[in-house]
Every structure is written in C-alpha cells, then in structure tokens.
Subunit: 145 residues, 2 copies
C-alpha cells in the first residue's frame, strides 16, 4: 500500500532517530536498514529537500535529523518522498459539480483521510520504542555492525 520509496524513507528516518547525536553516512544507514545504497541516496536527498534532515559532506559527514524525533511525524516522512494524495476532484471527468465528490470517491478519500490522520498522530519517537515492543527496526540481521 505504501510505496517502496516511502518504506525506505521511514526506515532511514527511524534509524536516524535512534542515533540523534551522530551524523550517519548513507552507507551506515543502508547497512542498518537494508536499503540499497544508491537508491537510499536519492531518498535521503528528498528528505533533505523537505527539510527533515541535514546533509554534511566530507569526512565525518553524513545525515542527521533537523528536529527531535518527538517532533517529526511519519506523515511528514511519507509526504516528503511519496505523498498521500487526497481526492479532491472526481478522477472520472471534468468536475462539473465543483468540489462535490461522488459517493464512491468520497468513500475512497475518507480512507485516505484516515491514513493521513493516523500517520499525523505518530512520531518517530513513538515508532522507536513502543511499550513492550521489539527492537525498532525489527530483526536487524547484523546488530553489531
């Protein structure tokens, strides 16, 4: 339901949120999140352009969050790379009755709205440590690296 790109972005952001102190290189993030490095680079660029992370070139560079994990919602992350689109006009034709959607598309837009609301209500911090949960990014296969 979510695109691969959005999934990758969320993994990367979750990883950055787990280490808010140190800048993480794309390579480090790729290793921890199992996202292919070249593709991840593009995703990180998008997150940078959206103002969610900062990028630092050169030695000891990398990426880091621009806000606290408690202040970034997963909605923002998704919107930065592969936005949920609300249905505002009927996709069938020219909107001859303005902004009134037909019942079908009203329902579908409702569903998008629910997702939107749901994502808006969850921060990266919450995604990191829910009570009684497993490690943030599931079974990281190489926890020591």
């Amino acid at each position: 339901m979510l695109s691969q790109t959005a999934e990758y972005a969320l993994r990367a952001m979750a990883h950055l949120a787990s280490l808010p102190e140190e800048a993480q290189t794309a390579q480090q993030i790729a290793g921890q999140t199992l996202v292919p490095l070249p593709y991840l680079s593009k995703v990180l660029q998008l997150l940078g352009k959206a103002g969610l992370i900062s990028a630092q070139r050169g030695l000891h560079g990398g990426f880091r969050l621009l806000r606290l994990p408690t202040e970034i919602t997963i909605y923002e992350v998704v919107q930065a790379v592969d936005p949920l689109k609300r249905i505002t006009v009927c996709p069938l034709a020219i909107a001859t009755h303005g902004s009134n959607l037909c019942p079908l598309h009203r329902q579908l837009d409702n569903a998008v709205g629910q997702i939107e609301e749901s994502f808006r209500s969850v921060t990266l911090a919450e995604v990191l440590s829910e009570p009684g949960s497993n490690r943030p990014l599931c079974a990281t296969p190489n926890p020591a690296v």
Copy 2:
C-alpha cells in the same frame, strides 16, 4: 494510494450495481466509466475469477453482478484485483522474533488494517446512493449514451 487497477474495478462494479437487471458489455461499461476498454477487459476477467460477476458471451451477453449490491463490499472488489496486504512479518529481514512486528511496521500495518475495516464496512449499494449526494460516478460526461 489505490492502484489504477483497483480504481477501475470499483468504477466498473459501481456501474454494474447501478443496473443490476441487465447485462452490460465491456464496451458499455468502458464508455460509462471512462476506463480504456482493453484494460477494462482484463480487470473484468479478474472480477469474474473472484466470483463477483458473471460473464456471458455472445449476443446480449455481458457482465452482471453475482450478488446484490447490498451484499458486496468495496473491500471484496479491491481484494479481487489488487489486494491490500497486511504486514505480518517484518519486511527487513528474516523474522527472527516470529510474528512480533517492530513498532514501525506495527504502525504501518495498523494503517492497512484501518483501510481494510473501512472498506469492509461499505457496500456497493452505499457507494451508489449516499444521502444528499451527486450521481454515483461523478460527472458522467455523456449521461445519455
């Protein structure tokens, strides 16, 4: 968020639901729903295989619903052509802790679950005529055809 294929399937089913008596040819459905005919044919095949509609070849043939519009949910339609997939195992790696999702994917799966529930609760009949709403399939540009 929904694939084009799912959108097309819903349009077609909504159209069939609006005329439960008569069989509609793929061409008729395509004309009313503005779905490209060759592609619609494939979608209708999927709906047929899922047991939602019957297909009749030859003169006066076409497609019709196999159940009443009040008895078909939009969830079934979506599942027939482009299923929502619940997240049951962490997509990151081998599930070393069984069916326990990490907080991130638990959240994402929650969202899918909400959509699922939402779609399960809406029937084609409801999509056809909500109180005070516009015509079922928005502004059909050629209402007379």
